[in-house]
């Protein structure tokens, strides 16, 4: 009896704490959506209006009228997708070479690649901006895409994965006459699918959310990526929070959709990048 009561109490405490935090973490999302659907007059209404009787999608059409939000989103989508695909291919190749091929200097190259992980982005920001300017890339996709591709982290993870694939699988393909490149594309790469999926999520999110580099490299209105677009929209529309919230909904929708569709891979990628780091 005593035990049952304390157990009930424990469950009650668990739910109270869990729900309080759920409100804290989900609240801003709900308030963002609620505000994006409201007319301006209800933005700071007291008491607050959660579900407006005057809800409409007007704010969204105004956002599209007042800023090239479609263009911002296309830019982000194009850049993030291209970087992700290129990074997955190049890092798989590099990781495979480091894990399964033997050639002189392999260990040295691996250590060299890993050591670039120590270099923080802010120390290379100025030279990178100057380099991109020198190449004539300011306000081009090249500036946003190419410097974002090389990343020791992805190489490292794919190397770790390729180290673990059984030798027999490779040998079988080689007896069938496959070349090393053939083994990579037909045996190793398909096996790496789960790792590639997790890394893809990681790269896509990192590039969709990127701010500092796009701010420096491409600030012409038609070349802005979505985070820079949101920032400048906020700057230009001061207190039009209903429009800013509508723009925020647009900017967060793709990653949120990705989040709910691929939660398993996202959590796997967090664990992968976190645990064994």
């Amino acid at each position: 009896m005593q035990k049952a009561r304390s157990q009930m109490l424990g469950i009650g405490v668990y739910y109270v704490i869990a729900i309080v935090f759920a409100v804290i973490f989900a609240g801003p999302f709900i308030w963002m959506i609620s505000s994006a659907l409201k007319p301006a007059s209800e933005i700071f209404a007291n008491p607050p209006i959660l579900i407006s009787p005057n809800a409409s999608l007007d704010n969204f059409s105004k956002v599209f009228e007042q800023a090239p939000f479609g263009q911002y989103m296309f830019n982000s989508f194009f850049v993030a997708t291209t970087v992700t695909l290129a990074a997955l291919l190049l890092h798989s190749m590099a990781g495979y070479a480091l894990a399964r091929l033997s050639f002189p200097g392999r260990q040295l190259i691996f250590v060299g690649i890993l050591s670039t992980l120590m270099i923080p982005f802010y120390t290379i920001l100025i030279p990178l901006a100057l380099l991109v300017k020198q190449l004539g890339w300011i306000n081009t996709y090249a500036a946003l895409i190419v410097p974002a591709i090389p990343h020791a982290f992805g190489i490292f993870w794919l190397r770790q994965f390729f180290l673990g694939i059984p030798q027999d699988l490779e040998d079988a393909a080689r007896i069938d006459g496959a070349s090393r490149i053939g083994v990579f594309f037909r045996v190793a790469l398909p096996l790496a699918r789960p790792v590639l999926a997790s890394l893809a999520v990681f790269f896509f999110l990192a590039n969709w959310d990127a701010f500092l580099w796009p701010l420096v490299a491409a600030n012409r209105p038609d070349m802005r990526m979505v985070q820079v677009g949101i920032q400048s929209f906020t700057g230009e529309h001061g207190n039009a929070w209903e429009l800013i919230m509508a723009a925020s909904v647009l900017a967060v929708l793709p990653t949120l959709a990705l989040f709910f569709a691929l939660q398993r891979f996202i959590i796997a990628s967090v664990k992968m990048t976190g645990l064994k780091g």
Partner: protein
């Protein structure tokens, strides 16, 4: 097959591995050299030169570094960055550990709450900053209305020198707690349940089992989380840029804000590069100290 044939085959394979190996590594290694290693060396060089937007850089030795040491704005920004780190790192660690413990037992509801807590990870720091700026509008924002309705005081949040730092910190805590919760949760769930059961058979209560069984086993992950949090917080930028631009009255002006503005508002590349190299050196040393500390703490056990 004769031994000569076999030798030829082995040799051909060795050659193939060398050629394919270098070929596969070439694009990435080239990319890292051109876009990371090269700029890093270049940054050190720029930091030793006087280089404004116009004209050529000319070598001035350590003059930029000497100027930094005497620059009160540098010292203040560094101080604020450290303050931010001291507030941010323990808060995120404790909060995400607490949430992980809360959700340790697998059940349908814990899966649901895990998804909710993790949701802000899907949002960029820029958007999080924008939304929170809106909710924290002094006087009439949602947070102030809610606090006011239960009679709690309402600071001016990002608009006030006293509370601006807490406001920008709160946003990053809100955004990142779920991420570290997932990492710590995975670590806790990796602890074999017989360990905990054995301890409980020996009379340990739940708190003792957590304190003496789970926490020690969680140490490598905790260490990793704290190092990552520290490195990240020393380069905080995005939400500050959209919420306060370093204001009001420089109260949220962190070192990275200063580095950014020096380079891309004042176009003083030499000085900005010197600050970035100095910050890098400090972070590097701090990380080494942390690694040392955790390692020696490990050995003592």
């Amino acid at each position: 097959m004769g031994w000569l044939d076999r030798l030829r085959k082995v040799n051909r394979d060795r050659l193939e591995q060398i050629v394919v190996g270098y070929l596969f590594l070439l694009p990435d290694v080239l990319g890292l050299l051109v876009f990371i290693v090269g700029p890093m060396l270049m940054s050190v060089y720029i930091s030793l030169s006087n280089w404004k937007l116009v004209g050529q850089p000319h070598f001035i030795g350590l003059a930029n570094y000497e100027a930094i040491i005497e620059d009160p704005l540098f010292g203040d920004s560094l101080g604020r960055t450290i303050l931010y780190t001291i507030g941010y790192v323990p808060t995120v660690y404790c909060l995400s550990l607490g949430l992980a413990v809360l959700l340790t037992r697998r059940s349908r509801s814990s899966g649901f709450f895990r998804t909710i807590y993790f949701m802000p990870v899907a949002m960029s720091l820029v958007i999080a900053g924008v939304i929170w700026r809106y909710m924290l509008e002094p006087g009439h924002g949602l947070v102030d209305i809610l606090l006011g309705s239960v009679g709690l005081p309402t600071p001016e949040w990002a608009g006030n020198v006293q509370s601006s730092m807490v406001s920008v910190m709160m946003v990053a805590i809100w955004k990142n707690a779920g991420y570290f919760m997932i990492i710590l949760l995975a670590g806790i769930q990796d602890v074999p349940s017989d360990f905990i059961e054995a301890a409980q058979v020996d009379g340990a209560n739940r708190w003792q089992a957590f304190r003496y069984i789970v926490m020690p086993l969680l140490k490598p992950i905790s260490f990793f989380v704290i190092v990552i949090l520290t490195i990240g917080s020393l380069q905080t930028f995005d939400q500050i840029y959209v919420m306060t631009r370093g204001g009001p009255a420089y109260s949220t002006y962190t070192l990275l804000m200063y580095i950014y503005e020096k380079a891309f508002r004042e176009w003083d590349f030499g000085y900005s590069a010197a600050m970035s190299v100095a910050l890098f050196a400090m972070v590097f040393i701090l990380t080494l100290i942390q690694v040392r500390y955790f390692r020696s703490a490990d050995e003592r056990q």
